[in-house]
């Protein structure tokens, strides 16, 4: 069960809260309409074996705090790392000064949705605390998997990784909230790169770019059996060297769950962050085609089979928390119901926009007259300002089995494993390349295809979804490295998906 103590630095929740109270006190002496303070310890352990050698074996702990103040509708945020009363007071004063100075840039117009001031304690759940597992046991898993990956000469590069992160945080607000949370996340994966002539191909297990990540403990590593899957991973990388290139044309495609997770992330997740819609990311990550007119109008995002649900309460989800960094309790809600767009991902800062836009909408389910946040406000750590982040956004399962779906496909391509992704700044035109493809002819898997690529426009793509596999193939896939915001912040979230079919998609690299 969760530790009740920020163990590594002997900081307790109560000592963090006592320090945080000084920030609230500083803000209270001003005309601040809101102040919150997050004090946290983030512990991290990274292990990596590359080409037979330990390339990373690191432990890190970062303690710090961030103070956010709203004054006349303007925000000020400042952070520090010296956990002393004097420093907390000084940094709170800086946050107040920033909020005051901000008015010179323009009128403060931030609206802040009312939410209950919770006093609670919450924790991720896990079976085996990864920070208590001996390092030699962790290294043994990586070294054994790596040795198998390197058994064939075509393999020129390998990478085997374990990653663990625990955040212990206390949140206090001027409204009286105090929320203590512990969030634990674990990740594991392997990959092999084969090279011959001018060809280089990589295959990963269980997913690319670091592997699978979940908000669980060491049991994730045990369940993945990296060693047991290394030979297949290696051999598939080698087989891809002599595979045919992905054909160019229009084909039915069946996407694996891990690839579909990234598709959900890029073409639905970011597109439905309401701060993007409002233009807050316009100079960096971009805006969104899902303007606020689309929520009242019943915009068709996908086929009637498509149901996309955010759930910050789902066990194991990387975005599963008790409360977000605005102090809002975690929720579950539809973003797309039966193919229609029905809800954004919001924070207390932008909730009023959704509330206004939904007035009169036929699908305005769950949105009260008073603006309420969906609880999507999260920061990378205490030194970052909270921004709207994608929740655990999942495609609900359908009724097919994968075998039956392949048998039902006359002329298509099975695509698996994330290799390359790119999407325009309004989240419409995307192009993805996968690690591994298999042609489907007459309902059977056929020849191997390298660099399987598909390109589309978001609503048309989701509109072409005509079959989704059932709960037996449905899994949560972790995205541990979602970048957004300036200064850039990394956030974690999961996307549940089972393989699904999309009719007549543009495949292959055109041009």
């Amino acid at each position: 069960m969760a530790t009740q103590q920020a163990a590594a630095s002997s900081l307790s929740f109560d000592s963090l809260a006592a320090l945080g109270a000084h920030a609230l006190e500083v803000a209270k002496k001003t005309k601040a309409s809101w102040c919150d303070v997050r004090l946290a310890l983030v512990e991290r352990e990274e292990l990596s074996v590359r080409n037979g050698e330990v390339s990373a074996l690191e432990q890190d702990e970062q303690a710090g705090f961030g103070v956010r103040v709203m004054l006349d509708g303007c925000w000020g945020f400042a952070s520090g790392y010296d956990l002393t009363e004097e420093e907390v007071r000084r940094v709170a004063g800086v946050a107040v000064a920033l909020a005051k100075a901000g008015r010179r840039a323009g009128p403060g117009r931030h609206q802040w949705a009312d939410e209950p001031a919770w006093r609670d304690r919450w924790s991720s759940t896990w079976l085996i605390d990864p920070f208590t597992v001996p390092l030699d046991r962790k290294l043994d898993v990586l070294l054994r998997a790596d040795a198998i990956l390197r058994q064939k000469p075509e393999i020129t590069s390998t990478s085997c990784n374990l990653s663990f992160r625990r955040e212990t945080q206390t949140f206090l607000s001027s409204a009286g909230a105090r929320i203590d949370q512990v969030v634990l996340r674990s990740g594991a994966g392997i990959s092999a790169t084969a090279h011959k002539g001018s060809e280089t191909q990589t295959r990963s297990y269980p997913a690319a770019f670091g592997g699978q990540f979940l908000a669980v403990g060491w049991e994730l590593v045990e369940s993945l059996d990296l060693v047991g899957h290394a030979a297949q991973c290696r051999d598939e990388a080698i087989e891809l060297l002599s595979a045919e290139p992905c054909p160019v044309g229009d084909r039915d495609i069946i996407l694996s769950g891990d690839q579909l997770a990234l598709q959900i992330h890029e073409s639905v997740g970011h597109a439905t962050e309401l701060d993007r819609v409002q233009g807050w990311e316009a100079n960096f990550a971009g805006t969104s085609f899902v303007d606020t007119g689309k929520i009242a109008g019943g915009f068709r995002y996908g086929s009637p089979l498509v149901n996309l649900v955010c759930d910050a309460t789902v066990p194991g989800g990387l975005a599963t928390v008790g409360y977000d960094d605005d102090g809002v309790r975690s929720q579950r809600w539809h973003v797309v119901r039966d193919g229609l767009f029905v809800g954004y991902q919001t924070s207390r800062d932008v909730a009023h926009v959704e509330s206004t836009a939904q007035e009169g909408a036929p699908d305005a389910v769950g949105v009260a007259a008073a603006p309420r946040s969906r609880g999507c406000s999260r920061a990378e750590g205490p030194s970052h300002v909270p921004i709207v982040r994608i929740s655990n956004l999942s495609l609900l399962p359908g009724t097919w089995t994968l075998d039956r779906l392949i048998a039902d496909t006359e002329d298509g391509i099975w695509m698996a494993g994330v290799k390359c992704w790119s999407i325009d700044q309004q989240r419409l035109n995307f192009q993805f390349t996968c690690e591994y493809g298999r042609e489907i002819k007459g309902g059977k898997l056929g020849r191997l295809l390298k660099n399987p690529t598909y390109q589309g426009i978001t609503p048309q793509f989701w509109g072409a979804c005509d079959a989704i596999c059932d709960v037996g193939d449905w899994r949560l896939w972790g995205v541990p490295n979602c970048g957004k915001g300036q200064p850039l912040q990394t956030a974690e979230m999961s996307h549940g998906a089972a393989p699904a079919r999309f009719r007549k998609q543009a495949v292959g690299v055109r041009g």
Binding site: S157, C420, S422, Q486, R510
Partner: protein, 446 residues
Amino acid sequence: MLDPERARRLAEHALRLAARAGADEAEVAVEAQDEELNRFTHEHPVQNVLRGTACVAVRVRAGGRQGKASTGTPTEEAVARTVERALAVAKLSPAAELPTLPGAQQHTLRGRGPLRADPEATATAVGSVTDAARAAGCRAAGIHHGVSTLRLLMNSRGLAVHDWDTVAQVSVSAFRDDGAGWACATGDGHTQLDAPAVAARAVDKAVKSRAPRAVPPGRYDVVLEPAAVSSLLLFTASHGFGAQQVLDGCSFLAGRMGEPVFGENISLSDDAFHPMTVGPVFDGEGLPRQRVSLVEKGVARGLVHDQVTAKRSGCASTGHALPQPARDGPQPGNLCLAAGAGGDTQALIGGMKRGLLVTQFHYSNVVEPTKLTLTGMTRNGTFLIENGEIVGAVKNMRYTESLTEALKRVTGVGGDLRLASALFGGWVVVPSLRVEGFGFSSGTEF
């Protein structure tokens, strides 16, 4: 903010503790950063931020085994705990043949101090941007940003160096109707950036890029502004010129050193001391960054090394180590593409019969590493050029193109060097380029 003296005391404390605990070698890297940011939209400032962060990383070696630990709490107590954790990790690590830590070095430093945060002045500058945009009927979004980074590295063999690195940026996107424009100014922050001028350029582009028409995908001659060039070229840092990628056979340069890889008009170096660039002047092992000529008149001439790849290759480190141990090996950090005689963007357009002008690329990524085939979208101002003139805006397009092939078809290299970045970060010094037959594979709706 952590000052150099406090950082030095902490590092010496850590080295003493490591030696006392029996470490054969030890290294301490301290990094402290203050970041001031005003992020705004046309309606109002979204964020006014002053972030302070610090990190003390301790790397120890004992009996051929290495361990590393780090802390964000710069106190003697936390550093002592970090040394203990690093030693505990080392004990459990497999023994490995590791290059000896470098001894004392001669460093050339930037020698600048940190930037002074001035939220009132920053907010005033932001106000001038949003006012200018509003006056032109535009909406604007952007940042006014300044970062000061103190880096200190000391080791048990006598290496001791610290320096400040500063960077400041005003970046503005402007929107009017269906038009979008972007402009940016970047520098070391010790000279004030001209925020109104940046706003004026972004607004001008937004106005001109209204009512874009769709053009079919295909191959077009293009003029790429420096920001577009940067988002292509940065991939040669992560996927090309690092010695480990070449040794692993994953780089487009594998087996091609000494051969022509780009056109004769392309010369590329990594130069931390280029007058326009920013970033640290010593690497993750404390070695001075050397200027490395990577490509001379199209011919592959050099790679960047850390001590690990240098040992494998039988050469000396070029001072391009990331903080050690580095899973992905050394990387260039200051790519500089040599300026040509092509003048500015306007001059390059002047020589073009029909083609496209690209302001920025968005979300570029690697489709295939050995040919460096990239894909991404145009953004914030894409224009049709006919007979040397801009004749109108076009809707954004997706490019899918081999960078190595494209750099063989460069028909004009501008003289307009800029310090530029891209969505995934990094800095390069690049001019505008004119490229023949650049491949666009699909379009979008705006």
